[in-house]
Amino acid sequence: MQRELARERTLLSRKVSVAALLTTLVVLSSLPHMLGGGHHSFLPAWFTSPWTQLLLTTPVLFWCGRDFFSGALSAFRQHSADMNTLVAAGTGIAWLTSLFSTLFPQVLIAEGLPADVYYESAAVILTMVLLGRLLEARARGHTSEAIRRLLQFQPPTARVLREGQPIEIPLPQVVVGDLVQVRPGEKIPTDGVVSEGSSWVEESMLTGEPTPIAKASGDTVIGASMNRSGSFSFRVSRVGSDTVLAQIVALVRQAQSSRTQVQRLADQVVGWFVPVVIALAIAAFVVWFLISGNPVLAMLFLVSVLVIACPCALGLATPTSIMVASGKGAETGLIFRSAEALETAGKLRTIVLDKTGTLTCGQPEVTDFERLPGGVLPADTLLALTVALESRSEHPLAEAITTYARSQLKDRELPMVNGFESVAGRGVQAAIGSQQVRVGTPRWFEELGINTATLTPLVERLELAARSVAVVVVDGRLEACFGVADPLKPTSAAAVAALRRLGLQVVMLSGDARRTAEVVAAQVGIERVIAEVRPADKASVLKQLQEQGVGPVAMVGDGINDAPALAQADVGIAMGTGTDVAIAASDITLISGNLAGVPAAIELSRAAMANIRQNLVFAFAYNVAGIPIAAGLLFPLTGWLLSPMIAGAAMAFSSVSVVSNALRLRRFQPAPLPGAAS
C-alpha cells in the first residue's frame, strides 16, 4: 500500500511537471492576445496560432488530467458527482468552446463575437488543481506519520537463544516462550518478562514518559522500547498482533476511521454540494446570457463557478485533523479509541477520579498492625488465619495485608479454609477449623451488630492519617486492626490542579471510609468526595452525576475493576500500567498510567476540535464567498470579475490550506503541570 502510494505520487509529480511545461508554453502563446491585439507580436505567428495552443493543451487535459475525466465519468455512471466532476466539466467546457472557435471562427465572427480561444484557462486550471493535489498528497502523507514512526521503532530481527546458542532471526519467526537477548542500546523486539540481568529501559515512544525505567528479573518489557545501559534476556510473552505496540497501532487506526458528530454534518453537505454547484453554474450561464446576450462571457462564468467550488476542503476538514491529533496522542501515550472520544473529551465539565490506582500508586502497604483490647489469640496464630483468608481475595488491600503478614510469619503452615466468601465493598469471611474468621471494614462489623466502640478512636486516628483500615474478627471478637497506606503518585496533585485550571469539576470516587478518602482528597486538592462506594455501585454514581451535572462526565480508573463505570461515563479514561493496553473498553487509554495524561488529553481534544472548527469555517466560508464572486454577483456593484484561472488556483489552494492547518496540530504540546519540576 505504501509503495503503491509512493508510485502514485511519483506519477503525479511527473504529470505536474509535464503540465507545468506545456501550460507555460500555452500561456506564452496566448500572451500577445492577452496583452491586447497581437499586431506587433515578438513571437512567430505559428506559435501564437490557436492550432498550436490546441496541440499544447490537449495532452495537459487528457494525459495529465486523465484521472479527472475518467473519475468524473465513472462517478457519473454511479449517479454521483465529486471533485473530478467539477474539474472535468470546467476544463472540458473551456476546451470545447475553444475547439469550436478554432474550427469555426467564422460562425462567431458572423455573430459579432471575437473568435477567441481559452486553451490557456483550461491548461492553467488543470495544472493548478494537479499541483494542489500533489501538495495535498504530500501533506496527507505526514498525517499518518505518527503511526509509521511507531512501527519503525520495532527492530526487524531478534537475538533468540536456540539450543543454548544465540541466533539472529527475523521478528515474525519469534514465538511465545522464546528467550531473547538484548544488549545495551538495542531496541527490545517484542513483549516479554525479564528472566535474567537488569537494565534501564526507555519506554517514551509508547508511554510518553521520558524517564527510563529500571527492569530486573520478573519485570515486563514492551516491544519497541529502547534498552539503555544493561544487558538482559527475557522470555517472550506476546508476539505479532498481541503486542502492546500492535494494539496501540490498531486502536489509533480505529480512531482514525471513525467520525465525529460535526463531520456527520459536513458529510451531508458534501453529498449535496457538487450537484448544487453544477446547478448554480448553469444558472449563472443562463442569467449572464440573458443580461449580456454574450454566450462566451456566460461560458466563462459557468467555468469559474465550476472550478472555484471545493467540496474537498469540506470533506477533508475533519478527518485530517482527527488523523493528526490521534497520531499526536499516540506519540505522547494517549490513545483515543474513536473520533467521538476525541470530540467529547474537550467538552467535559466533570471528571471523576478513582482513588486507588489512579490518584495513588495502587500498591498499598501495611503501615500499622494493632492488637485490639478484647483480642485473645497469639499474634502468629492470628496472622496465619489472616493470611489463609486474605490470600484468597484479589482486593489490593488484601494483597498488602497478605504480604505483610507473610513477612512476619516466616514459613509457618497455613490452616485450611472452608466456605470462603467475599462481600463486595465490605470484606471477606470463611470458616477456618472451628473458627469463623472475618477481615473487613469497621463499617461492616457495625452492620453485623458487633460492638466496635473500642475500635473507634484507633480507626479515627488511622483514617486521619489517610490509612485504610481492615479489622480482623474471629468468632465475633475484635482481634486486630491493620492500617494500610497507598502512597499518592507524585504527579497526582499537579494533575488535579491542571484539571481545575481547565475548568473542570474534579470528583474523587473511593470505596474507602469517608475520613480516609477526604484526607487523600485534601492532599491532592479535590473538594468533592464520594466515599464508601462499592465497586458495583460506581456506575450508578456516575449515572447520578450525569443526570445532575452540567455537560459530559469522564471517569478515570484503572480499567479492570472500574470497567462498568468507565463504560457508563461519557468518556471512560483507563490508566494503563504500561503493559496492558488490552483495556479497550475505555474511550481513552493513558499508557503511562500517569494522571498528567488526563489534562493533556483534554487539551489535545480542545486543540483538535478548535482546529476542526477552523477548517470547517474556512471551508464553508471559502465556498460561500467564492461561488457568488465566481458567478459574477459582485460585478454590477464593483466591477469585479474572477478569471477562471484564478478560480482554479483558489480551489486548489483551499484544500491545501485545510490540510496544512490540520498539520499544525503536530506541534501541539500540553501545558506543563502547575508547579511541576519536570
Binding site: Q78, S292, S643
Partner: protein, 147 residues
Amino acid sequence: MTDLLATDLISAAPLWRSIEQPLALKALVTTIGVALIAWELWWFLGRHGGGVAARESAAGWQEITITVDGGYAPTRIQMKAGRPLRLSFHRIDPSGCVAQVIFPDFHKTLDLPLHAITSLELPPTEAGVYPFHCGMNMVRGVLEVVD
C-alpha cells in the same frame, strides 16, 4: 483578449460586449438551462433503484462484491439485520482516492490494493443506514440494513 482578469473587464474589453439576442433564443436558452438543472439534480440526488441486495450464503452470511471504479458499484447495498455481512471490494480504479474504504459506524478502515479483491467482515447489526466512503470522503456508498 483571451483572458478574463478583473482589470481587463473593468476596462470594458471587447469581450464585455452586449449583443442583442432574439427573444426566442433567450427563451430557448432559459428553458434548456432550467431543464438541464432539473435533470442534473434528479440524476445526482434522486433515488435510482432500491439498491442491490446482498446474496445469502452458507452459515447465515450475506455476501456481496463491490466494484471500485470511480464509485462503488453497487452504491446502495441492502442487507438483513442481525446477520453477518462479508463485503468484497474489487478495486480497478488506479486513483489514490479510493485506495481506502472507511466504515465510520464500524470503526473500520480497509486498504484496497489495486486489481485485487479485499474482503471485510462486518458483525450483525441493527436496522439502519450505515454509510461508507473513500479515504477522502468523496466517493460514497451506503449499507441499508432492514429487518
